[in-house]
């Protein structure tokens, strides 16, 4: 059973997802380090990913495309920032064309992955996603926590739920 928590840190402008996998750290690392395994989970079943380049070293590039039900292809890339196998990986995740070239006009997300030993041979994966427009995402998510806005948002929530 996978336990997942999602937390939002207003100061750091990040969404952090923490989950525990029933496998040792070295095994969980493979889902990132082995392109064939990465392909099995990065895209949803209806948009499977094909990894083209997979250079998991600082400064390296991982490029992929996802193929949709109509044969439509959607490219993406990672620009690898830091790697410390089997515990840590940091990269920018962006959009691109099917040849793996970055589209500079589209937002890029910074992703930090940390794998650590958890009890009974399990692994905790902590994944931190920082949204491109910095604070933006966090602050939207935090609307309602913001003092002084709570009352106003109390009136908005029913509108949003409608």
């Amino acid at each position: 059973m996978t336990v997942t928590t999602v937390e939002k840190d207003l100061e750091a402008c990040t969404m952090t997802i923490t989950t525990v996998f029933d496998a040792p750290v070295e095994r969980v690392w493979q889902i990132w380090s082995d392109p064939r395994q990465l392909e099995r989970w990065w895209g949803p079943p209806t948009y499977p990913a094909t990894v083209v380049d997979h250079d998991l070293t600082p400064g390296g590039t991982v490029s992929y495309f996802m193929t949709g039900p109509e044969g439509d292809k959607h490219g993406g890339w990672w620009s690898v920032i830091a790697v410390a196998a089997p515990h840590r990986l940091e990269f920018d995740d962006g959009f691109g064309d099917t040849a793996g070239h970055a589209n500079p006009d589209l937002p890029v997300m910074r992703i930090r992955v940390e794998l650590s030993d958890a009890p009974d041979g399990t692994t905790q994966m902590r994944l931190e996603t920082t949204f491109p427009s910095a604070q933006a995402m966090e602050q939207v998510l935090a609307m309602g926590m913001d003092e002084g806005m709570t009352a106003a948002l109390g009136q908005i929530d029913p509108l949003l739920a409608a």
């Binding site: 996978t2 997942t4 999602v6 969404m15 997802i17 989950t19 996998f21 029933d22 496998a23 095994r27 969980v28 889902i31 082995d34 064939r36 395994q37 099995r40 989970w41 990065w42 949803p44 079943p45 209806t46 948009y47 499977p48 996802m66 949709g68 959607h74 993406g76 959009f95 589209n103 006009d105 589209l106 937002p107 994966m125 994944l127 996603t129 949204f131 491109p132 427009s133 910095a134 604070q135 933006a136 995402m137 602050q139 939207v140 998510l141 609307m143 913001d146 002084g148 806005m149 106003a152 948002l153 009136q155 908005i156 509108l159 949003l160």
Partner: protein
Amino acid sequence: MYNSMVIGLAEAENADHLFHALADSTRREILALVLTGEHSVSDLARRFPISFAAVHKHVTVLERAGLVSKQRQGREQRVSGEVDRLREARRLLDDLETVWRERIERISALLADPPPTDAPPTHRPPAEPGTHRPAPLEEPHP
């Protein structure tokens, strides 16, 4: 159905505008006010310890992001909030969370599989039929 955050390029650009507009606390407060009722720019300016020009600028950023609309009424500009647009912002953020929750589900399924070998993949029958159906990892290709 797949979500817009990962592959909807136009939507991603769209989201960038939205989130930029929402990234400022004064703009969020302005938005909260006008979502619950129409206000003139001068009325808004009275409520914040910043200049009329500064408030006007914030309103313009919100307007460009589609979060508010302005109507001229005599000598006044009335500002009202666009609920649908804010709902869209929330939806985009929920999408991001959904993307990762789904990925985590697939990783769990992958880890439950025997370690990959060079041998052709063999599919085991479900261990406990009827309890749950694992998500398919691969789509069959015709």
